[in-house]
């Protein structure tokens, strides 16, 4: 009896000691949990709650059930903004990949000066979207900018063309600016995928007589599935949330044709101060982005075997 107590007491004490020591971990993560709770989880819950209210900036808010969501169904300008956002996302993603993939292949293997080229291609990626937009708003300006006066001086156009006055040139100017800014980033991600492909696999295919195109299709693309999916999702998610460049360079113009989803939510919430309605719009955007993230998790799942 005594012998059992004598052996088990220190053991139990040690177990309690161990678990108490483990509890200390909670203290270490507490500040992080507090930040995320106060500045993310609570606002997230509030967004859902506010979306069920008529919530002006001043005065009382009133519960109105799903009325905001019914209003969204009739809000053609929101659907137009969403349609434009998807159109922009599609075009800009294709454009980014069309530039970034060749660049990634170009810098993949260490050769003389490769590091220098890689750094040069990547430089615009570390500049902020706001800085890049301000910079290009100057370059695109009809009087003091670069492109219109240069085209005029070279005799390409009969007069200085205002690139930002009509939809097509304005839209493609934004695409050019975003590709310039983002291609280097996508390039680095694709490069990591290319570098993870075993070199001997490519060499074996060369011996088997596979041409560069066949090798690209049969080896490079399948083995890069996860990297491609990641680069794709980053580009799509970033583009759906686009705001800075359309606000700074175009102010949503010409004729409100380049209002993106985030821009429309910004206008409703912080220009018209319809906070409840803005929250409902936010919920729609949120559902789209979460769906995208779930697709991402599915695409990025660990490959089974070599597949």
């Amino acid at each position: 009896m005594t012998s059992i107590a004598a052996t088990s007491a220190p053991a139990r004490a040690r177990r309690i000691g161990v678990s108490r020591r483990q509890w200390v971990g909670l203290l270490y993560v507490l500040p992080a949990v507090a930040f995320v709770t106060v500045f993310f989880v609570i606002p997230l819950g509030m967004t859902a709650w506010m979306s069920l209210h008529n919530w002006p900036l001043m005065g009382e808010h009133a519960f109105i059930g799903l009325d905001n969501y019914f209003a969204i169904l009739r809000d053609t300008r929101f659907w137009n903004a969403l349609k434009f956002t998807f159109y922009y996302t599609l075009i800009v993603t294709i454009a980014i990949f069309a530039v970034a993939f060749p660049l990634a292949i170009f810098i993949e293997r260490p050769r003389p000066l490769t590091n220098l080229y890689r750094t040069a291609f990547f430089m615009p990626a570390v500049v902020g979207f706001a800085s890049a937009s301000l910079l290009w708003s100057w370059l695109l300006n009809v009087d003091s900018g670069l492109f219109s006066p240069a085209a005029y001086d070279l005799g390409l156009t009969e007069r200085k063309v205002n690139l930002l006055a009509t939809f097509q040139p304005a839209f493609w100017s934004i695409i050019a600016m975003v590709v310039w800014k983002v291609a280097g980033f996508t390039m680095i991600i694709l490069m990591t995928g290319l570098q993870s492909i075993p070199q001997d696999l490519q060499e074996a295919a060369v011996i088997d007589g596979a041409g560069p195109f066949a090798r690209f299709r049969a080896i490079t693309l399948p083995l890069m599935r996860r990297t491609l999916a990641l680069a794709l999702i980053l580009s799509v998610a970033g583009s759906i949330l686009a705001f800075d460049q359309f606000y700074i360079i175009l102010r949503g113009g010409p004729r409100n044709q380049t209002l993106t989803a985030v821009y429309w939510i910004f206008n409703q919430s912080f220009v018209s101060f319809k906070l409840g309605y803005g929250a409902a719009l936010s919920m729609v955007l949120l559902v789209i982005l979460v769906a995208l993230s779930l697709i991402q998790l599915w695409l990025l799942r660990k490959p089974e075997g070599l597949d």
Binding site: V24, V29, V36, F40, P43, T47, L113, F129, I188, I248
Partner: protein, 285 residues
């Protein structure tokens, strides 16, 4: 003969490669270089199209000087930006080092729940919760304060930086800790004296991303900072570029953009290794 042919082809390949590389590099660098050169024109010349980009009527820093005359001045906004960015770096590093250590080395209830909670915030766009953030900051008395903005930026950094720091701590062998514990080190000295030097590269990486994130962020600063004296550089420069202070002074815009870009470029060039490492960590995992 075949030898000569192959030599010849090699030279041609190398020539094609370097011309492609140089042309592409010029395209990517040109807008940046063009802007920086143009800022040194006198104000009069800066209003004209930048052809050529360098000053032709004399070198001048007039554009930087006039920048200080708009609103509360560029220097006030730059100070706000520096304060917000540095505080975001310090606070997010502190919080994520503690959390990374906690998640890596302790087994406590709800550990996995908290970790997944923090990481999953990356799935939700902060753009969709800005209004309630505005209301929460008002409730906390942080409305229209730089500190409030810092809190928001730190929260946005946490999923990435805690993920990075947890991995960094996971990579440190437990034997090192046990040896230090034998020597009587407690948790805090262990973390600061023993562990921190070993996870230092991870700290530099998350600090760099926190700085760039806070320095360049636009939408939250635009929405949350309504008082002009609290504007950060991107918000201030956008106000200037939209003609809020009268006719748009493009020379001043170029100078402002340069002030915004240069710290990012210098930090990136100095710490490129850590930046790429952060990208890889995000890409591989």
């Amino acid at each position: 003969m075949a030898e000569a042919m192959s030599q010849h082809r090699k030279a041609a390949f190398s020539l094609a490669r370097h011309s492609t590389g140089i042309i592409a590099s010029v395209l990517f660098l040109a807008p940046i270089v063009w802007t920086v050169l143009s800022t040194f024109k006198p104000a009069q010349e800066a209003r004209q199209p930048p052809l050529p980009p360098w000053p032709t009527t004399g070198f001048s820093v007039e554009n930087y000087q006039t920048l200080n005359t708009f609103g509360d001045g560029l220097w006030a906004s730059a100070q706000n930006s520096i304060y917000v960015s540095v505080m975001t770096v310090l606070l997010s590093v502190l919080v994520s080092v503690l959390a990374g250590y906690g998640f890596s080395r302790f087994r406590f209830p709800f550990r996995d729940f908290f970790f997944i909670l923090i990481l999953s915030t990356i799935m939700i766009p902060f753009q969709s919760i800005l209004t309630p953030i505005f209301l929460v900051l008002t409730k906390l008395g942080l409305h229209n304060t730089l500190t409030g903005l810092v809190c928001v930026y730190v929260t946005l950094q946490l999923p990435f930086s805690i993920f990075m720091m947890r991995n960094a701590f996971d990579a440190v062998p437990r034997e090192i800790e046990e040896a230090a514990r034998m020597d009587g080190a407690n948790n805090v000295t262990m973390l600061v004296k023993v562990m921190l030097p070993l996870v230092w590269p991870g700290v530099v990486t998350i600090a760099l991303f926190a700085f760039l994130g806070a320095w360049n962020e636009f939408l939250a600063a635009l929405v949350l900072m309504t008082d002009q004296s609290k504007f950060t550089l991107p918000v201030m420069m956008t106000a200037l570029q939209s003609g809020r202070f009268g006719a748009i002074d493009w020379g001043a815009v170029q100078a402002g953009v340069t002030v915004m870009m240069v710290p990012c470029l210098i930090l990136f060039l100095a710490l490129q290794r850590f930046y790429i490492r952060g990208l890889m960590a995000g890409a591989v995992k």
